[in-house]
Symmetry: C2
Subunit: 595 residues, 2 copies
């Protein structure tokens, strides 16, 4: 379907907006009036600029406070409309968005409102303009989309139809099934916006928190499917505004919007995720100095080396780490995912506008299928072939240990890319949002969104750290383990400086809430319990560079991430950094050899 | 009265918080449990640290979900309470805050709840602890402060009283007059927080938007007066959390909190503003290069020079500008205010913890009474004496011209100091918040709070520009004028490069809305009309450095600032900067000599 976006959805001047929108591949735009008012170019030149960029002007918006106005305001309102119709002729726009009246002075009554709508449509038609009437969720008398449709039917003019806006429909909790009551040719326009579920009035919610489809919680695929069944064949148009977009790069925002529409179309078509990953193949860490010897200390065995690059393979149970000696500071740089169809998955990612990483390889190496995540982390889609790239330093076979695999990875995004990252992991990897949290940090706030695939085989936690600029964006790899206490006992004894110290006050509080094994206190193992009785035992290593490790043990179907303990963990990590615990190449007591 | 603050109100580790709180002069603290849990020091050491800093531990908080819990949870809840009582003994805290139960499992019924409260109080008393029971605004069954008091009276135990929290009372719209129904000795604690009026649920409103007294819209003076009439003699304690404080400096936040309590006490005592300024004496601009000749172009006359500093006095009507040749870039650096008692005003500011500027002067000069505003702008309290510091270059007497005075100044704050600035202008200068706005900027959002004194004699607009870091924080001086059109005519003719160009599209829209003088379009004069028929004509100069000038003409009692035109103005300013219009030392066609 044709794809459009409102100019208000991206930052910059009107010309900058048009350029960014065209570069992202959109077919058309909605010109937002305020963008036009602030533009030094006359409408004719804006029209020419859009045409040069290959953009149609699909809609001019908004026209406000018309239907149901008191009689004495009607002449002024018609005068206002005439001015806008003439402007639209200069601009080459033939569809005007009319929002339902929000004025306290508006009078109730469908007959009066429909009469006004008909009058407006008649005047519009004289200028070759059509009017798309939209029920704002906070309209004074008209705030339901079916009410707008009732008035349009009553007014009964060919130049009058409805505009459907997903936010205005779904934010009120209206059932979108009613859209199929509207003949497709009377749906003049469809605006799409998603939003997180927030406990606030619809007006500020709309003004500050709209996001692209797939970034919030609305069922936009369901709505779109209904609108298509109704026979709508016009553009899919994004109308999104929030405080983050206003300050972000127009080019990047426009591209993310386009990604959201492609993903939405695929979801409606049932072709959303041809190749959902089935597990973690590996996590690759930049590890100058061997990551402080932490893999060895955790019981990993070095099982291979790359013949052409300074990369080692370390294994334990089903967990594989690649330790890459390049890079200035330890960091999580890549994640490998088991894929039933690596090339298909990469192709799918590319169709969703993800940057494909270069495939330049030596002839002996396995083919690479990799894309860059929004924070720059490389995501590899793997079958078993990649292991053959490494020269074995041990006989093949699973390396025993208490660690069984990678449970999840946590990646910290810049604030401007948080929603983009959520959409990336959802649309490209097929993960679904699991829980969203805000965790107090001593120096700010950590926003966190956990996403997981079918059966929890792949879990990614997307974080944004709203802290001062002098704090590193931490990332971590969480390793699944059958007996965290046993690992902790060994580490406390053999590598006492490796584990993040947890305050005694935490355990006093834990004792007050639960009767738990008193040994946890001495070991620095944290504990959580969910409402179904599932339990979670976990511990953290100290941080090296940007990265740390977590060991997690899930008991009884626990699906969370120990969020209740995150504030204590963050404080301990900050304290470690401030006291210089940050261990440089190697924490005290850690030997580089495999255990 | 004794002054306290909850540790959650400032950023950092618990020890950093205590140090900042003590440095700001508080007498005590509420220890917030999560701060304690994350602290590596045992409770005894925290107690000692607080004592060393001169801080009492006035409260430990919060204890949750106790009263009205289902019977099967009671043993666990009592066990939890016993742990906390023992902790409080170690901590040296003897007052526990109990929040009303928010659990969906809580059972209704005052008798059950009161029975539980009595039981808790009995156990507390065995440890020398008292319990202050607070109705959370979102409590499951108890969410009104008088309901909490009813339960406390029913429970009837000397170790049980109420905690009053201004947010929980005023956010629900409860009438605070009922506090006088509570005997003062049963009000165990008083927590104070202000908040802006927001259309959202009380829980997220509380979590993210609380602010210090005087920074929001609640009538805290009225509440405090009632609580004192009830006989309460305990601490005034701040309990504030918002997303800005979490990332801000603990020292500065604590100091601002102390300022808010001092101002509140004065407001209750009726000694809030001994010396409210009566007008603008001057605006001082760093003007290397003579501010591009703008004062002269605007019709100002140079009337004096400072014998000891590179500062010129320029006058027109009642408006005085000081042009200070020091400084790297043009900026608004100081504001002089006419004061009936300059020394008293400065003393008042100092008592409100404002930084007093050094008074080092030569013997001939007038005495200086000046403080630094939160953004560093110097605020001078003046009588007429300061004019004698300048050597006249013209015979004394009002310099004629169309400009009559300074209408307002607009100062842009860093985001972290926006609320602090609002409190400063309110408590130190006696200005009252007039209107708060959010204006879209092409690259972000401008938040704006206009504040004005009695009769509009002093108006200050406090802005925060939420835009990318590469944008300058603009400031401006708005000059009052009897005939903006006449000034614009002259400027267009004599200094065509001086005025900010306003897009023709703006005037097309203005024509659609109002029938206004068509000459405005050619002159670049903007127009606004208020709902009472008041009119506003204004124009802007281009920006030099960080600063620009506005000329405003208020007609028919117009009290606003042309906010509807701000987005167009911001876009034009950005466009000017991007196209290199920024005129350096002098805009084209501007001569340095007085006209």
């Amino acid at each position: 379907m044709r794809k459009s976006i409102a100019t208000v959805s991206v930052s910059g001047t009107l010309v900058e907006k048009l350029e960014a929108i065209a570069a992202a591949g959109f077919d058309g735009v909605e010109i937002f009036e305020n963008d036009l008012l602030a533009c030094p170019l006359p409408p004719e030149e804006i029209r020419a600029r859009a045409a040069d960029l290959g953009l149609g002007i699909d809609l001019y918006q908004p026209f406000r406070d018309f239907e149901g106005a008191p009689a004495e305001l009607l002449p002024g309102n018609l005068r206002r409309a005439e001015h806008k119709f003439r402007l639209m002729e200069r601009l080459g726009a033939d569809l005007l968005l009319l929002c339902s009246n929000v004025s306290p002075a508006a009078v109730p009554g469908d007959d009066v409102a429909a009469g006004h709508l008909r009058l407006l449509a008649e005047r519009a038609a004289e200028h070759g303009v059509r009017v798309a009437y939209e029920a704002l969720a906070w309209g004074r008398h008209v705030n339901e989309y079916l009410h707008a449709w009732r008035l349009v039917r009553l007014a009964d003019h060919p130049a009058l139809g409805v505009c459907l806006d997903s936010f205005h429909i779904l934010s009120r909790g209206s059932d979108p099934i009613g859209v199929e009551a509207i003949p497709g040719e009377k749906i003049f326009f469809l605006q799409l916006a998603d939003a997180p579920r927030l406990a606030m009035d619809v007006l500020p919610w709309s003004r500050h928190y709209r996001c692209f489809p797939g970034q919030g919680t609305f069922d936009l695929a369901g709505l779109l499917a209904g609108v298509r069944r109704a026979g709508y064949a016009g553009p899919l148009s994004l109308e999104v505004f929030n405080d983050v977009f206003r300050q972000a790069s127009a080019e990047r925002t426009a591209l993310d919007g386009m990604r959201s529409l492609i993903a939405l179309e695929r979801e409606v078509a049932g072709t959303a995720h041809p190749a959902v990953p089935t597990g973690f193949a590996f996590a690759e860490l930049a590890g100058p100095g061997g990551l402080g010897g932490i893999p060895a200390a955790l019981g990993f065995t070095r099982t291979g080396t790359h013949p052409g690059k300074p990369v080692e393979l370390w294994e334990q149970g089903g967990a594989r780490l690649l330790v890459n000696a390049t890079g200035a500071d330890p960091a999580l740089i890549a994640v490998g995912l088991d894929s039933p169809d690596p090339a298909g998955a990469a192709g799918h990612a590319e169709e969703l506008l993800s940057p494909i990483l270069p495939r330049a390889r030596t002839p002996e190496e396995a083919e690479l299928n990799a894309v860059a995540a929004p924070d720059g982390t490389e995501i590899f889609f793997c079958d078993d072939g990649w292991l053959a790239d490494f020269t074995p330093s041990r006989p093949p076979g699973t390396q025993p240990g208490l660690i069984t695999g990678i449970d999840h990875v946590a990646l910290t995004q810049p604030r401007h890319h948080f929603d983009e990252a959520a959409l990336f992991y959802r649309s490209v990897l097929g993960l679904r949002p699991q829980e969203s949290l805000e965790v107090p940090d001593p120096y700010g706030l950590l926003r966190s969104k956990a996403m997981s695939g079918p059966g929890g085989a792949v879990r990614v936690v997307v974080n944004v750290a709203q802290v001062g600029a002098d704090h590193l964006p931490w990332q971590h790899v969480a390793l699944a383990c059958d007996d965290v206490v046993a690992v902790a006992r060994r580490l406390r004894k053999e590598h006492p400086g490796l584990l993040l110290p947890i305050p005694g006050n935490y355990y006093d509080d834990l004792d007050a809430r639960h009767e738990v094994d008193p040994e946890l206190r001495g070991l620095g193992v944290l504990y959580d319990r969910d409402e179904h009785g599932g339990e979670f035992l976990h511990l953290y290593t100290v941080t090296v560079g940007r990265v740390f490790f977590e060991l997690v043990q899930r008991i009884g179907g626990y699906q969370g991430y120990g969020a209740g303990n995150a504030a204590v963990r963050l404080a301990a990590q900050h304290a470690g950094h401030r006291q210089g615990v940050r261990p440089g190449p190697r924490p005290a007591g850690v030997t580089p050899a495999p255990l």
